[in-house]
């Protein structure tokens, strides 16, 4: 097994399993409770599949009231709770433990309100990211953050991890698009934080909750900003002979006062895999590929893309290819958005998520390659170049424990490198268990203790997703 340790499950809690299940059944009924081993198995891991644990039980409340009653009960029983959206976390954010109850929000997925005059939507938190945009599309509106997993992932999980996406260069990440939440604290208290107004009334508790990885409360409803769709959007594909040239081109585009909606980067191994999957017309004879997307009217798009192509030309781009039709645009994005899935067809991989200052890009890519080679592994890079959020995919065989350990070590080295050059461990996936033990590479104990005081304020017994975010040693707990 792999080397990220989990706390030893509490046998005393496991011994009370039947009693705890009975208490939950009294609140949510049979339809809201999963106890059979077969059905619980679906909840034993998330998208960090190397780690698994069978939860004590899975509870799927249908209302905020039920969530409140469940948490109040489990708080009194001192049972840990792991919140779960769609289980797409790449960081182990939804990984349960054997003495924990998984609380899933999947039965709460309704659109509660769409207000186009105020440009907000109110949703139950189990709604998928894409469903928000679909719900408001008839008025040509959309919800901006667009993680690659947007077909499956929920707004609850997006809020927990402060998720990003390809288009956040222009539109910001979840925290910039979230206006309010209804949140249940571990003692059952239901809080409305924020709302349709833009400013926080006092301390920005909403800003604290967003990205707190299910450790401060369970969000059951969200109020988000919805934006009017641009008249149109089209990408251009720009191929380069080196990472340096691509990186310099990104800097130069921004230096010209152009902030595109998205600037995505792929290296040669990633291009090859994505092209064979999506047939998007990606050039196969280049070392680095940029997908740069701009928005506006037809004329505006043409003018902007012409400017970008001219800038890219000065960095030696070869045969830039502008998407001329909706179908071509979709194909280009299909390749990018299905990149992780396409990679998964050829190999198991571990997806890293560090962010670096964009100026350090070429040097960091060289070092990432060296790190992986040093561990006898290969790597493909697909990431958000505009904001320096890297996603190196370390390829390995999940069924070979020795390879898994090598991959984890290579991953840790890559993330340490990101911190070393002035970046951070995670740009949009969250810490979860995956980066938990690296937190002291980015923070010192004083920094972490200050964060932990807030954990204790919201959840004095540390029952919400307790094994995540902070190293297990040295916690300022209780």
């Amino acid at each position: 097994m792999s080397f990220i340790a989990m706390p030893k499950p509490d046998p005393e809690i496991i011994a009370r399993r039947a009693e705890i299940a009975a208490g939950l059944r009294a609140i949510v009924g049979d339809e809201g409770l999963i106890v059979s081993e077969d059905e619980r198995r679906a909840y034993e891991t998330d998208a960090l599949t190397a780690y698994r644990a069978m939860p004590l039980a899975v509870v799927l409340p249908a209302t905020t009231g039920e969530v409140s009653a469940v948490l109040k009960f489990l708080n009194a029983q001192k049972v840990p709770v792991v919140a779960r959206g769609a289980g797409t976390s790449l960081a182990g954010g939804a990984l349960p433990s054997e003495d924990a109850v998984v609380l899933g929000v999947s039965r709460m997925s309704a659109v509660l309100e769409m207000n186009f005059a105020d440009r907000v939507a109110v949703l139950q938190s189990g709604i998928t990211n894409i469903a928000i945009s679909q719900a408001v599309a008839h008025e040509q509106f959309f919800y901006a953050p667009d993680p690659s997993s947007q077909l499956a992932c929920t707004i609850a999980g997006n809020i927990a991890m402060n998720s990003g996406g390809a288009h956040c260069l222009k539109y910001g990440v979840t925290t910039n698009n979230l206006l309010g939440v209804k949140m249940v604290m571990m003692d059952g208290t239901v809080l409305d934080i924020g709302g349709a107004a833009l400013d926080a009334g006092g301390y920005d508790l909403l800003g604290l909750v967003c990205g707190s990885e299910g450790q401060l409360g369970i969000v059951t409803e969200a109020t988000v900003r919805i934006l009017r769709q641009a008249e149109g959007a089209r990408p251009v594909l720009l191929g380069f002979d080196s990472a340096e040239a691509a990186g310099a081109c990104v800097s130069d585009i921004i230096g010209h006062g152009i902030v595109p909606v998205a600037i995505e980067y792929m290296d040669r191994p990633a291009i090859k895999v994505c092209e064979s999957f999506a047939h998007a017309g990606y050039p196969l004879d280049v070392e680095a590929l940029l997908i740069v997307e701009v928005e506006g009217s037809e004329d505006e798009i043409e003018a902007m893309l012409a400017r970008i192509v001219e800038i890219a030309g000065s960095h030696g781009t070869r045969t830039p290819r502008i998407a001329r039709t909706e179908a071509e645009s979709l194909a280009i994005w299909k390749g990018r958005k299905s990149a992780f899935g396409a990679m998964g067809r050829i190999s198991d991989y571990m997806c890293m998520d560090g962010t670096i200052p964009t100026g350090r890009l070429p040097e960091v890519l060289v070092k990432i390659d060296a790190i992986c080679k040093g561990h006898g592994l290969s790597v493909a890079n697909i990431f958000h170049a505009g904001d320096g959020n890297l996603h190196p995919l370390i390829l390995y065989n999940v069924n070979d424990p020795a390879e898994l350990e090598k991959a984890e070590k290579a991953g840790a080295d890559i993330l340490k490198l990101c911190v070393e050059v002035g970046g951070c461990l995670t740009g949009e996936h969250g810490v979860g268990i995956e980066k938990r033990d690296l937190m002291l590479d980015q923070f010192n104990e004083t920094d972490l203790h200050q964060q932990q005081r807030l954990k204790t304020l919201f959840d004095p017994r540390w029952l919400l997703n307790p094994a995540k975010v902070f190293p297990l040693e040295g916690r300022l707990q209780g």
């Binding site: 040509q140 709302g195 400013d199 951070c424 740009g427 810490v431 980015q442 975010v469």
Partner: protein
Amino acid sequence: MTANASAKPLAPRDENDVIAAVADARAAGTPLEIVGGATKRTIGRPMQTAATLSVARLSGITLYEPSELVLGAHAGTPLKDIEKELANNRQRLAFEPIDYRGLLASDGEPTVGEPTIGAVAAANLSGPRRIYAGAARDALLGIRMVTGRGEVVKSGGRVMKNVTGYDLVKLSAGSWGTLGVFTEVIFKVLPETHSERTLVFEGLTDASAVASMSAGLGSPFEVTGAAHMAAGIDGPAKTLLRIEGFDEQMVYRSGELKKLLRTFGVPALLADDASRALWLKVRDATFFAGTDEAVWRISVAPSHGAAIGAAATAAGGRVFYDWGGGLVWVAMPAASGDGGAAALRAVLPADGHATLVRAPETLRAAVDVFQPQPPAHAALTRGVKDAFDPDHILNPGRMYAGM
């Protein structure tokens, strides 16, 4: 102002000095008023502090990478220095922070200092571009602060995307120096736009103005400012919609907006400098400068704005709407006993809030300057304060009584 107004402020030279000053104050149990340029001291409840700690000497840009859109500075760096450096590179703080000096100067105690970048973060300043570019909290990437425990805590960093650990950056933005003393702040910056245009509709009623601004902000033409001044605020009633971008975009987008909004009349078109001058007045609430009225900054969803405007007008107040900033600005007659607090707060929806940004000290002591909170929120607020500043050394009582 505060009890210590005449005393010489503590003027730490660096972060270590700040640590020592806070630790001393904590040991002695003597609360500190925290200032940068001291231009916003009159916002908040009056405080009883033993000394003033100024970060003005913690000055200088620490990091500026134009191609990475990031700028960091010591907290006491004058905002004007930063804006100048950004302008040299055709960049800006896109969130358009309000300059309160003009508005607050009428308080009988003119503000003479220079606003600092630390205070931009501490007060979570924003402006009319809020709807498009967010507030300071949205652009603030990283902070270093000395908490009331006398400890340095850092959060965030210098990169655009960072979800490593809890977001203490957002929590401390807008905490008005009550959680920690910022020593360094790092902001995302953006390119200046090449040009701008403002459509000016004259003579609209409040209801028509609201409809026109809603239509504009809900259009695909990227309106970056929307404001309405009823008759008497700035001459005849004026409704403004701003667009920014490259020259060819301005021609196209202003044309499209005119078509979209033709039922509201034919707007005048202001370009570049004329447009900028007008938006400065909206940003800084200049219409209310130089009077003795009590001034409220009210944050609500747009659909509640008209009801608040009506209530304020009925109570004898003057109103303008910075719709893109999500704000209703209200000036209430000086003679009204509570500065209009009861009348305005009575019509606020549960998620709205009204902040009394300008009033004499007696009024600020008598009414809630910041929106009062329900018990569960108040308990968390107090818990947050205690987590950062257990002995209530930093700006005690500025936001809420007793903390």
